[in-house]
Amino acid sequence: MKKNTYRTVKNRVNLILLTVLSIIFLFPLFWLFTTSIKPDYQIYKMPPQWIPNPPTFAAYPRVAKLINFPKMLANTLTIVIFTILGTCLSCGLVAYSFSRLTWKGRDIFFVILLSTMMLPGIVTMIPIFILFLKLGWLNTFKPLIIPSFFGNAYFIFLLRQFFVTIPFDLSDSAKVDGASEYQIFYHIILPLTKPAFAVVAIFQFMASWNDFMGPLIYLNDPGKFTLGLAVYALTSGNQGSLDWTGIMAAGVIQVIPVLVIFFFTQKYFIEGITLTGIKG
């Protein structure tokens, strides 16, 4: 009896603590959104105008026109869609090789694969940039898309973890029936591991949508910018005369798709993070 009341009190304290912390964590996003729908004169008000009155969405069409939103969205989505395609295709095949085929050198290459995860991206950035420059790929989406067709260590590892759980008897009986490895991959493994590919696709979406340094290095022509670059470009004016409601509206525009995807695919997120330790 005594123990139970202790439990309830403890739970209640935890609940209060969690609520307070949740408010703190959400407050910046609340501030982002409310600033974007404030009439301009209210954003500098002291004490602050917590709830915009009257709320106005005027900043949205203004900033959408300014950054040429349809074009930026199309550019970003082009990169996102092709990188998802490239990643799922290449990582699926490679993971299949590392999990369900036996070949000379496989285990050594797998250790190498894991160790490349520890290699800081910045070390290889300059030679890769020069390579793409020499290929004449600057100011195109190719440097941002093509590498995804050559696999990604994290996603290969993640898919492999899923592939090894599928009973090998399935492959063996298919082989008896004369199926090739490719047919086994396509007709047996793929249908059984759709959730794993969903995890990869979602993470790749986030990575491409959120990428800043890649587009910053490779895209110079404002017509080719991604949404992230376009939003960043809004802040590069004179600090005193920045259109803050517009900038916050642009921020909201960039955030909303990831929030929507996150809320509908939470389960996959948590699975992916716990399996690989990708921190998002």
């Binding site: 964590f25 490679v94 716990t274």
Partner: protein
């Protein structure tokens, strides 16, 4: 032939399936590292072909470049505070979340959400929050009678500002800790309860030791990514004021893509790689003392 062939059809299939990554590894890792090493011994402005200058870049880096100590200091400062703070917060949140309360998945989602916010969006948002006079943070500090600092406009407070901002994105580490906590075997707690152990004793004698592998993982990956902090500083401060947020990778980026000194930037990149490598090795060697690995079956 009778003799086992050296390279069978089975091997060929394996290599074929793995070929996207094998080729990618060859180009984007192997070639790139060798090229980076070569460039680091060259004067290379892209416009003209690389010119071999021996260890000139390294001499400049270690002896002449007065900014190198600054950017190392800034990066170490950032890492030394952002990583422990982030880990402590992530662990605390994970412990709070690791219990049966209704709506726990909502709380989990809320704490994780900031880490899916794109770096550009979070940077502009925090730029707005950190404004000295009318920014949200100083308004709230004002409610408690605290006169907030100038944050990003201040030499002393610019780095702490970016560290505070990084703490907002601890959701990923939190989820990893949470998964670790859920893996701690129930029986251990039950056995301890029979022996009369209280909550704190269980926490220190069971939870923490069982969590050390996870803590170690989050520590290593956190240090590696903190050493490469870039986007927030690039967007929010550009390295200023007075180079107080000029972090290593930001400096490297400027040398490479603003001054087009690809050779020098390659030398900077390799030194950073070595530093990260050595720090990882040091952490790894200390891990034997404090990381508890369950005996494998």
């Amino acid at each position: 032939m009778g003799k086992k062939r050296f390279f069978t059809k089975k091997d060929l299939t394996g290599y074929l399936f793995a070929s996207p990554w094998l080729i990618g590894f060859g180009i984007f890792n192997l070639y790139a590292i060798i090229a980076a090493i070569y460039y680091s011994f060259c004067d290379y402005s892209i416009i003209e072909p690389p010119k071999w200058i021996g260890i000139g870049n390294y001499l400049e880096l270690f002896l002449k470049d007065e900014l190198v100590p600054t950017v190392f200091y800034n990066t170490l400062y950032y890492t030394a505070f952002a990583v422990p703070l982030g880990m402590a917060m992530a662990f605390f949140l994970a412990v709070l979340l690791n219990q049966k309360i209704r709506g726990i998945s909502w709380f989990r989602a809320i704490f994780y959400v900031p880490s899916v916010v794109p770096a550009v969006a979070s940077s502009i948002l925090w730029l707005w929050i950190f404004r000295p006079r009318d920014g949200l943070l100083n308004i709230i500090l004002g409610l408690f009678g605290i006169n907030g600092p100038n944050w990003l406009a201040s030499l002393e407070w610019s780095k702490p500002a970016l560290i505070i901002m990084s703490a907002w994105g601890v959701g990923g580490s939190m989820l990893i800790f949470l998964a670790g906590l859920q893996d701690v075997p129930r029986q251990l707690y039950e056995a301890a309860e029979i022996d009369g152990a209280t909550g704190w004793v269980k926490f220190w004698k069971i939870t923490i030791p069982m969590m050390t592998p996870t803590i170690f993982f989050v520590l290593i990956t956190g240090v590696i990514s903190s050493f490469q902090v870039f986007t927030a500083a690039y967007i929010m401060t550009g390295g200023g004021p007075g180079n107080s947020t000029m972090f290593y990778v930001l400096y490297l980026f400027n040398r490479a893509f603003r001054d087009f000194r690809m050779g020098y930037a390659s030398a900077l990149a390799l030194i950073l790689f070595l530093v990260i490598f050595v720090i990882s090795l040091i952490l790894l060697s200390t891990s034997e003392k404090w990381v508890y690995y369950e005996a494998r079956r």
